[in-house]
Symmetry: C2
Subunit: 716 residues, 2 copies
């Protein structure tokens, strides 16, 4: 019932900014929608065969439309749609029926990515994240600002990182190329924010960071880190779940937000020197590798000489002093994307002559696979300095072109009236959001470049961007959908909002917590003190083109000792499948080239000005409770999901590309080989799956045995 209402608005707004059209909702099968991004997860879906049977009409599907389609499919199947969303009644109504948490709380979460500018800088170059055996943090820290939550209700915030496609990459000739089919996907782990559960008020008080989430390539990791495959592309996802207990996670509705600009390729060693330099210039822990203002690398090599180097080591104070001069000196939190014109300008330029030339030559020429499109897009040209001058960005004309294109997903079938879902509503919402961001930036003391906001136009820099980076296969179509919210989204993601799951509590316990959850216990460090997150980029708000990416979200939870220790979740090893294949789609403003406080930037900002001006950090501000960005969708899992066999059946019926015959949920969730969407054949990956199963089992047993040994709890 709810979903349909929003459909029009979403489609309309999308069309206003994007050329992509959404296919008729009814025609869009959930299977494709859910399985695209993470084919391996699909088996977990509990959608009725009928709803899933339909093939994916067109890849270039608007995210919103997809969401609507999913909702429609659910409704079609007789599943209930969430009671949340659609009904604008204010939050204060809550007081009347404030039962136990959970019940009928009215909220309308809004999520914005912090340090968006920084992310955009990386995204333009093709973000790389190092993965090590011991676990590595993500550098542009994944941090979001949340608003619109019910103050008193309790929420669990978590994130996970899913495969963006099923390809393996290689960095060749200064650019990322597809190098074959993806390797078997590692068991996915959900990282529950250690503060969970906490009230909406608490979550909204300050940005929510996931600093403790670590990436690793160690398949035997026992820390609960996220295991990734090197040379593969991934997409971080953020989830909001209204639940007052981790144990209730299974019964709760997930609202998932995806920020396309945060995707990255996992590597064991940096491939693109520009990325390296960007990391060095912005990550405080890499300060040691920054140049003192001279020709960075060159100088460093020189200093490597016995005499000089020795001297430098003994003259720390001197270096530090010189270091502090520039702009980059903030702690872990992110800082200003452009380290500052003065010293920052050199970074990318000086680093590596060879690499520089090559990488910059990429331009708008699409890679073999569309996934890299956006990276080459903006055509950084020869200006290696990300901040020096705004690189070639799409002009208004270009943006317009993008908006036009989409032809599919016209108007989602069942989507009924408009009300809050009308284009108008969407527009207002977006404008309001932009205003908030703008104000927020000011409040945050990021006074620099007040006129920067308008640069939302930069969105275009990612024009080629919107299309390819997520699901390159069956899901590639959704990529276009990402752009649905294009330019003005500016960090404000769109998401599908599934309704409550109808399954009773008993079912869950019966199934057991087959999925695994990963989380860092509140334990140890960082908690006490009080360092204020320096987050310099918090209000970027300059977000250019916004793109929406929808990804399937089964429940590849991976339970770590920390999770167990702090959250009290039993670890039944492999027992059942997480029954919540809820999938959400989030559209966020995408790529925005660095925007130094140059007059040029200011001018550009002024030009686009009116569009992105609004408070960000802003306090309370009246707004629609159910913006068109949200579409409640209910996707109840079927019992079949509880067994591998059934899961396979589900995926088959849905035409998903997942073909894991494994009885273990993890396996079912794993992606093996190419999606071959619509295909049901278990293909030849069975063998692989078996071996993987073994490794996973080892992993799990390791985790279990470690529970007693893990350092976690309050270790100094």
């Amino acid at each position: 019932p709810d979903v349909p209402m929003r459909e029009p608005a979403l489609a309309a707004s999308a069309m206003a900014y994007h050329p992509f059209h959404a296919p008729r909702p009814a025609d869009f099968p959930m299977s494709a929608f859910l399985a695209a991004a993470q084919p391996s997860f699909f088996p977990a879906l509990a959608l009725p065969p009928g709803a899933l049977a339909k093939p994916l009409p067109d890849p270039s599907l608007a995210g919103a439309a997809v969401a609507a389609a999913a909702a429609a499919a659910a409704a079609e199947a007789g599943l209930h749609v969430s009671a949340l969303g659609p009904h604008p009644p204010a939050a204060h109504l809550r007081s009347l029926k404030s039962l136990e948490p959970e019940d009928e709380v009215e909220d309308d979460p809004k999520v914005t990515l912090e340090a968006k500018e920084l992310w955009d800088q990386f995204h333009k170059l093709g973000t790389e994240m190092v993965i090590t055996k011991s676990g590595r943090r993500m550098f542009p820290p994944f941090k979001v600002r949340v608003s619109g939550l019910d103050k008193k209700a309790k929420y669990i915030l978590l994130m996970d990182i899913v495969a963006a496609d099923d390809c393996r990459y290689k960095f060749h000739n200064s650019r990322w190329m597809v190098a074959g089919k993806a390797d078997p996907e590692m068991p996915k782990r959900m990282y529950i924010h250690p503060d969970s559960p906490a009230t909406g008020e608490q979550w909204m008080a300050k940005p929510v960071a996931f600093h403790k989430l670590k990436l690793t390539n160690n398949i035997s990791d026992k820390h609960g880190f996220t295991i990734l495959n090197s040379m593969h592309k991934y997409q971080p996802r953020f989830h909001i779940v209204r639940a007052n207990d981790i144990l209730k996670l299974p019964y709760s509705t997930f609202r998932t937000y995806v920020f396309p600009e945060t995707d990255f390729i996992a590597v064991t060693a940096y491939q693109n020197d520009k990325i390296t330099q960007l990391k060095i210039d912005n990550n405080p822990f890499a300060k040691g590798f920054r140049d003192t203002g001279n020709g960075r690398r060159e100088k460093r090599k020189q200093l490597t000489l016995p005499s000089l180097r020795l001297y430098e080591e003994h003259c720390k104070p001197e270096r530090d002093g010189a270091d502090s001069d520039a702009s980059s000196c903030d702690p872990p939190p992110t800082r200003e994307p452009p380290p500052s014109p003065g010293t920052a300008s050199s970074p990318l330029r000086l680093h590596r002559a060879r690499a520089e030339e090559k990488s910059c030559a990429a331009d708008s020429d699409p890679e073999p696979e569309r996934l890299t499109e956006e990276r080459s897009g903006p055509a950084l040209g020869r200006s290696p300095a990300p901040d020096s001058v705004s690189p070639p960005r799409l002009t208004e004309p270009e943006r317009a072109r993008e908006r036009r294109s989409p032809e599919r997903g016209k108007e989602p079938a069942e989507s009924g009236g408009d009300g809050p879902f009308s284009l108008r509503s969407l527009e207002k919402e977006r404008v309001a959001e932009a205003r908030r961001k703008d104000e927020g930036r000011k409040e945050a003391g990021e006074g620099k470049e007040p006129g920067l906001a308008p640069l939302v136009v930069q969105t275009d820099s990612a024009s080629p961007l919107g299309a390819g980076h997520l699901p390159s296969l069956a899901f590639s179509s959704h990529l276009h959908g990402q752009q649905f919210f294009g330019p003005l989204g500016a960090g404000q993601p769109l998401f599908l909002h599934p309704g409550q799951f109808a399954m009773g509590p008993g079912a869950f316990s019966a199934m057991g917590m087959g999925h695994l959850l990963a989380s860092v216990a509140g334990s140890g460090n960082g908690g006490g003190g009080g360092p204020v997150t320096t987050a310099g980029l918090d209000a970027g708000g300059l977000g250019p083109a916004a793109s929406a990416a929808s990804t399937a979200a089964p429940f590849p939870f991976h339970l770590s000792q920390h999770m167990l220790a702090s959250q009290g979740i039993p670890m039944p090893t492999f027992g059942g499948l997480f029954p919540y294949p809820y999938t959400y789609m989030a559209a966020a403003a995408a790529a925005a080239s660095a925007l130094p406080a140059t007059s040029a930037a200011a001018a550009a900002a002024a030009a686009a000005g009116s569009l992105s001006r609004s408070p960000f950090l802003g306090s309370a501000r009246p707004r629609l409770r159910f913006s068109p960005y949200q579409i409640p969708v209910t996707i109840p899992p079927t019992t079949s999901l509880l067994t591998t066999g059934l899961a396979s059946e589900g995926s088959k019926a849905a035409g998903s590309n997942s073909r894991e015959p494994s009885p273990l949920p993890e396996l079912a969730l794993r992606k093996v080989g190419a999606p071959t969407r619509g295909t049901l054949s278990p293909s030849g990956s069975v063998k692989e799956a078996a071996s993987e199963l073994q490794s996973i089992q080892r992993l799990v047993s390791g985790l279990e045995s470690q529970r007693a040994l893990s350092p976690g709890r309050e270790s100094p």
Copy 2:
């Protein structure tokens, strides 16, 4: 009903090891029991006037007897006794009635102090804890090992630090002297372990540390740190609450454990050089102050000379190498008490000639106040080195003597049969416990000094100890009680176990969370990784004399931003009084002089051997479910507790020394001036209270406003 059963066992065991007598349970008033240690907390007690009216018969009361007395008093007053404890039915019964957490879960918590030997070393000298504006950790880290919890039930573990008496101290002539009445007590804060709530299984998996708890003297602290008065004596307390939500804390039963050897005097600067040296020798973070094996301080001063010092600074590697030589190099977690004979021997000796002579002269000569008794006790004599040779310890004969003595607290009235409560049972339990510890030590790789276990005899070193360090006033009697469990208790505390509170949920919300909770959010650091707690002392098991101390425990919770942020607890500032004055008494093995791996120590260990041999880290091991160490007691608060006036009444009726007329819970809980137990006059502290109230209010408002600014959440 339950309580009585255990009485005999407790009394018997106590008698076996301690000369102190316990008065007839029924004759012992809860008022004295509860109010003694923290007079200021007493007002919060909800005991019926009748039960509390009775005066304390005899100060030299065994802890167990006291507990029994409390239980008896409660029963006498018609209060219900906890349904927990006494009924040995196994844990598996839980499965039958496993309702929502909380209900009728059968557990029998056992708590042992980690690094007991270290604590004992400090305790013998008179532990000092530095308090600073920015907050200081406790050095011997307060860490406990918990067992006997229901695996699946959820528990909240917390601790607080309460005034040990109402005196102010001064360090004069190398010893601590009472220097007048205590200053107004600061608002007490409960520090909830950040992992709370978690399942019993999780808590039992590894030692529970409270590293994040910090001490401060900053009355305006906004971090949620524990505020203490310098030059005052304090007693840390550990609490176990079975509850699956922090919000339910108010309705839950508290099981409180007190380890007398962990008491300390708060200082802004170390007074006793021996303490300083002990800290330096054992705290990894103070490595920089350790001597390279030479005359510590002397050498350092020499090096302070321009040339030398400069050299040293440039030769870190050299120093570090030398540093690693000794034994003490473990991370934050505790290490072996005796840093190692070789290098450790010098520490106390070389430090300060002047202080050395004086401090060592103290001997067994009791200080003006009995509180310092135990400190002088063991008569370290002239051997300043805590580890060099085992100080005068009780020989087997002496231990026997202790066992004989106790005549009081024969058998608590209602205490029915013996079963698990018989001396035999107690003995078995203790032996089992010792065995566990022994094994644990081995497993922990603490292979050193395998024969050390027997040194439990050291208990005696604390013989004078048991008596004075806690409540010097009305509670002094209980001190003796602490020794009740003497030698073999070895870290296994005795505790009074109040039953469930009869107050309905509604009442709480009506009152609001007047108490404040302090806790470090799971946020930030430490969580991720997996460093295994090095806890070298975990299995000490040598625990000598055990002493039990009972203290009143209202609910002086102080809510910090972290607490709020991570636990989702609303902060109603001052609204009501925490209705749970449940008081428990814990008896733990006390003082044990350092036990270096010397042949002498080994020999001693061999002598006492059989008594303390047993697994510690040990896996599952059959045991009594309701050991005599535990005595369930229900002490339901009266509504009167909710108002200051009533609280005062309560204290008055109980004859407590607290006389805070303040309407605010915090004030009521504060200790002002001397206890003058039995006195009801609000005395002249009203004025003080008023001013304090103001400061507290400021503090609270500060905390609230800070919630949004606090760094807490996941800051790098």
